[in-house]
Symmetry: none
DNA sequence: GATGAATGAGTTTTCATTCAT
DNA sequence: GATGAATGAAAACTCATTCAT
């Protein structure tokens, strides 16, 4: 086991880093990159500014670290979800469930995620955007594969380009998450994945075609 | 006619205002709120800073004005689209087409839109968000109505809450716009609205119920 | 006349600039580059910090401007001095007098000059050093020429390389200025240039060869 | 003998101190006081910052210690030089040689010396300047004495105040050192002290007087 | 006794906003 | 009424110094 090998020093470092990133996530997600000062992050995380700068070489570095960390966490969970089951429909159900779990656990993260992926700090991201975008695209390709395979296996009808189907289910789940974020009571993220899934599984128009 | 009543003075004012907002849209959409200075907006719009402040009481006010203006334009176009045709399917087609037209004509606006609705300046908007959100919700309700009526008329199967259907088609079209924004060549916003529409019309699973 | 052409605006600008450089000279010369804050320069010159930054793009730029300005003033005065008279000895007398005049008028400048040319901020100067150094060398060459011509005309004995003679008289006058700076009463810069000049004109050792 | 009395402990301390000062000299002489951090001195000398502070109560103290140490070394060498020989001319030759030896051996020291005596850190030195200056003046007085005695003995002509003669020969040798520092190849500090000495010994003007 | 992580005061610089011309 | 020069508050970041281990 590697984890046992970490010295007390190292473990403390890691814990401190986590504290800082956690404070930063809270602040960035509610106020946005430019409305958060390093002083605030320092105060919120209960470290001195200088200490913050020991861990992150500047504000942007702190921000990027946060983005990468969250993106990794997110990417990993979703990838695992669509790689678990054998059945394509089950894969999609797992994916919808996982997305809900990862995000519902942390409203700050979802707010941050939307601020990041769509718009918001698209200016700050300029430089490292590509890396994240690539990682995201890798996932989209995998998701598209699920549809492609489903179509090949005749589980799905061939109604649209698998990539667009992937993008669509992504955007629909995001929309549900967004609704939940705004009014958790009124619009809970559905327990039953089929509530979302049916929207693209069962066609609206029976006679239509 | 009301427009004839406007004095030359008034009309000039309006034109100046439009120049300013246009310059602001260009800058904000490409660089983001915090990376644009009033000096830049002044230079770009070829007015003096002081003149800018005659029209907008501060930077935030300029920004908000822009948001409201764009939102209005957008809202109006989409509302008109779904109120035109009689047939529900045709309404949806019109909606998809209109969305493409409004946005495709102006990449700046779409970039700005995403920065606004999803994330980005959700911080700046804090206060007046509600107003925009309300307007947006009015539209969502109307869009939901299209689905509800379609279901009542048995044009659509009753596969999900009409409101969620509205949110879904909104998010799918957004996703397509986003793809187009990133790579206009590779992912053109479809000429034929059915390419998008089919995703929720024709269900993926035939045998699945 | 060109000066008459300057608009009131331009003249005011120039005056402001001079005020700032004057305050900066005072501060830099007494406290040294690193011990002076922009806030101090602003306060001393009675402008806002922002105004300071309108004239000089950063602290280093302010500093460099000061160095160049002073160097120019100094260089010009000395060059004129050694180019005025025909007689070599008279040239040297004029040079010694001019040096005294330029500096005696302004203790701040001499302090600043020593801090700059010898040592001090040799770190800050790194980049533009060469330019100043070159200008200085041009002068040294001209001064060496005075000695060379004097030797050719048999006014001077050929006791050393003219360049070294130039460097020597430069350093001796500097030494006198330095003494004056430290104790103006006890060590006034001599009215009669021959007091300095004799040191290298009249040899110490008659019999010695 | 006093040195034998030093305990191993004491000797080690002394050695450590020397290591620190040596690292400090290297850094200060190349980068200047304000561009050197205590962290750097610690790293360069391979001690911990805390240890540095055991030896010097703060950065300024470290700097001053360095100045005093170097000044002592310098002062001692030069004093010894002018006290060795009996003949005044030989004393001056020894002085010129010694100056070359002390400095040529250590470019860092000369750079540091110029940064200190002329300009640079005259700001940092403010407080303790006087002490160094006094020591330096003691030396200047002794050097002046050499001239005074030479004049009394009729070895030298009485062409100027002995103190000014001392200052002059000091500044000329400095100028040569400075030239050497800038371009060691082109301007070597002369092996033969007479090359410098002649400048004040042999008068330039034969017929003059 | 040695260490170096943690601290936070202090510095440079930007930019929204005002107001005299 | 238009202008844009002047303002200064506020932000990012550095580094001398302390002190718990």
């Amino acid at each position: 086991m590697q984890k046992k090998k970490l010295s007390r020093r190292k473990r403390e470092k890691l814990w401190q880093r986590r504290e800082m990133l956690s404070a930063a996530l809270d602040l960035f997600s509610t106020k946005g990159y430019h409305n958060v000062t390093m002083r605030e992050v320092a105060k919120e995380s209960e470290f001195a500014i200088g200490t913050l700068y020991k861990f992150f070489k500047n504000k942007e570095d702190l921000y990027k670290s946060l983005v990468f960390e969250q993106a990794d966490r997110f990417h990993e969970a979703l990838t695992k979800a669509i790689e678990g089951a054998d059945d394509e429909i089950e894969k999609l159900r797992d994916y919808i469930r996982a997305k809900g779990e990862v995000f519902s656990a942390n409203a700050a993260m979802i707010r941050f995620y939307f601020a990041e992926t769509r718009g918001a700090s698209f200016n700050i991201m300029a430089g490292f955007n590509s890396e994240i975008r690539e990682q995201y695209d890798v996932f989209l390709q995998k998701l598209a594969m699920v549809f492609e395979n489903g179509i090949k296996k005749k589980i799905f009808k061939n109604i649209a380009d698998p990539y667009y189907l992937a993008v669509s289910i992504e955007s629909i789940t995001n929309a549900f998450l967004f609704l939940w974020l705004e009014a958790p009571e009124r619009h809970p993220y559905p327990e039953d994945p089929d509530i979302i899934l049916n929207i693209i599984l069962k066609g609206l128009s029976e006679p239509y075609t």
